[in-house]
Amino acid sequence: MKRRGQGLIALAFLAPALLCLAVLRIVPAISAVVESFYTESLLRGGRVFAGLGNYTDLLSNQDFRQSVGVTLLFTVLVNPIQVVVSFLLAVLFTQKAAGARLWRTLVILPIATPPAVSAVIWSVIYRPDGLANGVLERLGLPAQPFLTSSGQVLPSLIVLLSWIGVGYWMLFLIAGIQEVPVEVREAALLDGASAWRRMVSVILPLVRRPLAFVLVADTVSNLLVFAPVQILTKGGPNGNSNLLMYDVYTRAYAIGDIHVAQAEVVILVALTLAIVAGQFRLLRGDQ
């Protein structure tokens, strides 16, 4: 009886959160899945059940297939880069060195800039007559096209997104490194382990847990990248930065085909879950 009473109280406390979860997340998700099976003609009007029609349309669409390819390539590149750089920065900024706190603040600062503002800043940096080419010129290097070239657009976006993201993910890793017991580190020092050895054989295994979190959360957030694409490249040149999230947006609100867009959302969620499930498998295998 007492137990049941406790359960009810817990439920009452959880109710607002559960309600929000249902209204803001689960209902829209179900509606997206349902709507993805329908289609609507603008000239004839009326919503018609289309079965898997929207999905087959998408899969046979060249632009969609390219978008999946670009998204996968982006995912494969951006996540390892961001995780490795965040980890190296975290190791660096947990050393006792002059000004470590100041440097740390500088690295974290971009988090406080909204993604849209960061994108605008970088649009000026990447302009043909912008800051980046100014620096290259000073160094005696040729000017680069950056966002206007099919080959450089994705790397340019990766640099921009890492500028925003690396500081944020570093925070989790710094917290992890600071939890490594001092005795362990001192023992390694006494044994005469080199700095490299200490990082790879002592710190790395001991921060595996926050590292796993960072990898998975970073992957998900990078699969949802939208603002910089919308502001800087509109998916171009030639669709080479047309990430899925932006493609969904174009289909839904620019092209105005909400049903196919919802089918694409379902595919994006499935892709995200598959990638993350894969990451879990790999991480589990390490134990």
Binding site: R25, I26, P28, A29, A32, Y38, T39, E40, S41, L42, L43, R44, G46, R47, Q62, D63, Y126, R127, P128, D129, G130, P145, F146, L147, T148, S150, R208, R209, A212, F213, V216, A217, V220, S221, L224, I231, K234, G235, G236, P237, N238, M245, V248, Y249, A252, Y253, A254, I255, G256, D257, I258, H259, V265, L268, T272, V276, F280, L283, R284, Q287
Partner: protein, 438 residues
């Protein structure tokens, strides 16, 4: 370790649901929303949404509020780049937070078909006498009137007098009979780059917008890009389109025009004196007035052997069928468009041509003096173009998709993609996008 990792799957699930949530919203309504029977309260605040900055509409709102005590108008600006998508999103969600909104004329058909506009056909007779025939026509869809024309537009060739003088190039005249060709502009632009101190020869204000690029293809007889009885057949691979795009792509490849500068960054390139020739609209007549360089205006060029064609059309005003204040919204709409004083007030801050013919008559002569001697000739150019060379953007239910697909094609051509193959791809993309409309 495994146990403590439980936070992660929860985070992933939440993120996954977030993605799903983003894509869902109400499905759009069926064709042709009926006029709301209930006109709502007679006093209160109506909301008005558009792309221009708030100052633009201050005079008309002030005049309207003075004339209609008890009604207030709150204006919300959504930047041009995001306007269409945001409106699509809010209108399809039947958001009653928008009463009146600006409608880009070629989009009238699709917005009406989707049920995003209130039928205004009872004003038909009034509109017919008060605006030009072209404006009257573009605001119709399926024989009904859906929006009221507020503004009209045209394009000018702005030139940097200092750079041309330095390069010893005689500047173009404002006389439409002695209109320059693009070939002349290109040659003069190159000279200004070599010895006039200009960084670029030529630049368009909206380098990836159909509105500005349609005249290039039309000048060569390439057509609008849309054909067929239902206006849902792509025709962007005509000789005119191919030639126009080859020329356009080459202006960037050769450095005559800059890549990678877009949106709000284009105007300053001219007002800073970095470019010799700039293609812009009537709004620039005043904006460039604060520039330190000396400049002038000339008619929009055409291709040698082709014919002069200029863009036209601008924003109309429409009413959201989901608005619960139809009566007040309509009062404001009529004041800002059909009332000459009200319509004129919409053009007093941002210099754009009023669509109301009576307002236009009072307005056009003043254009010559918008920026002192620099804008001399602008009035005569405007009058000439609207009578002889103006070509509207095509009326099609598929215009929204068309503009989107073509915008991306122009961006790619600008960045160096082969124009012929890119236009071919655009045809395929249009066919795909229009499949869902038919």
């Amino acid at each position: 370790m495994q146990r403590k990792l439980f936070v992660v799957p929860a985070a992933v699930l939440a993120a996954a649901l977030l993605v799903a949530g983003c894509g869902s919203s109400g499905s759009s309504g069926s064709a042709g929303a009926p006029a709301a029977a209930d006109s709502g309260p007679a006093s209160g605040t109506i909301t008005f949404t558009g792309t221009d900055n708030a100052e633009t509409y201050q005079p008309v709102i002030k005049a309207f509020e003075a004339k209609n005590p008890g009604i207030k108008v709150a204006y919300t600006q959504i930047p041009f780049d995001q306007f269409n998508a945001t409106m699509q999103q809010r209108l399809s969600a039947k958001d009653s937070g928008i009463d009146v909104y600006t409608v880009d004329e070629p989009r009238v058909s699709q917005l009406a078909a989707k049920g995003f506009l209130t039928d205004l056909s009872d004003l038909d007779d009034q509109v017919k006498t008060k605006v030009s025939a072209a404006a009257y026509k573009t605001n119709h869809f399926r024989d009904k009137l859906w929006s009221l024309p507020m503004w009209n537009s045209t394009q000018f060739l702005f030139y940097n007098k200092t750079a041309l003088a330095k390069a010893k190039v005689p500047p173009p005249t404002a006389d439409p009979q002695q209109r320059w060709t693009w070939e002349q502009v290109e040659a003069a632009g190159r000279k200004a780059m070599q010895s006039g101190g200009a960084k670029y020869g030529l630049f368009m204000e909206q380098p990836e917008a159909y509105y500005q690029l349609q005249p290039l293809a039309e000048s060569l007889g390439g057509g609008s890009g849309i054909e067929g009885d239902d206006a849902l057949t792509p025709a962007v691979e005509t000789d005119g389109w191919k030639k126009a795009m080859q020329w356009y792509g080459a202006t960037f490849a050769s450095g005559l025009s800059p890549r990678g500068i877009g949106g709000f960054q284009t105007g300053p390139v001219f007002s800073n004196g970095q470019v010799a020739f700039f293609v812009g609209g009537p709004w620039d007549l005043k904006i460039f007035g604060s520039s330190k360089i000396d400049w002038g205006v000339a008619p929009l060029p055409y291709f040698q052997g082709g014919k002069p064609v200029t863009p036209t059309g601008s924003w109309s005003l429409g009413i959201n069928p989901a608005s619960k204040q139809q009566g007040m919204a309509r009062k404001f709409l009529e004041f800002a468009t059909l009332d000459a004083t009200g319509n004129l007030a919409t053009t007093s801050t941002t210099t754009i041509i009023p669509a109301n013919l009576e307002a236009q008559k009072q307005y056009t002569p003043k254009m010559d003096a918008f920026s002192g001697a620099k804008t001399a000739g602008a009035a005569a150019i405007t009058a000439y173009e609207s009578e002889h060379t103006a070509v509207s953007r095509p009326v099609s239910v598929g215009y929204i998709q068309f503009e989107e697909v073509m915008g991306k094609a122009f961006a790619d051509i600008r960045n160096g993609t082969n124009p012929d193959t890119r236009l071919q791809e655009a045809t395929r993309q249009l066919t795909d996008a229009w499949k869902s409309i038919k």
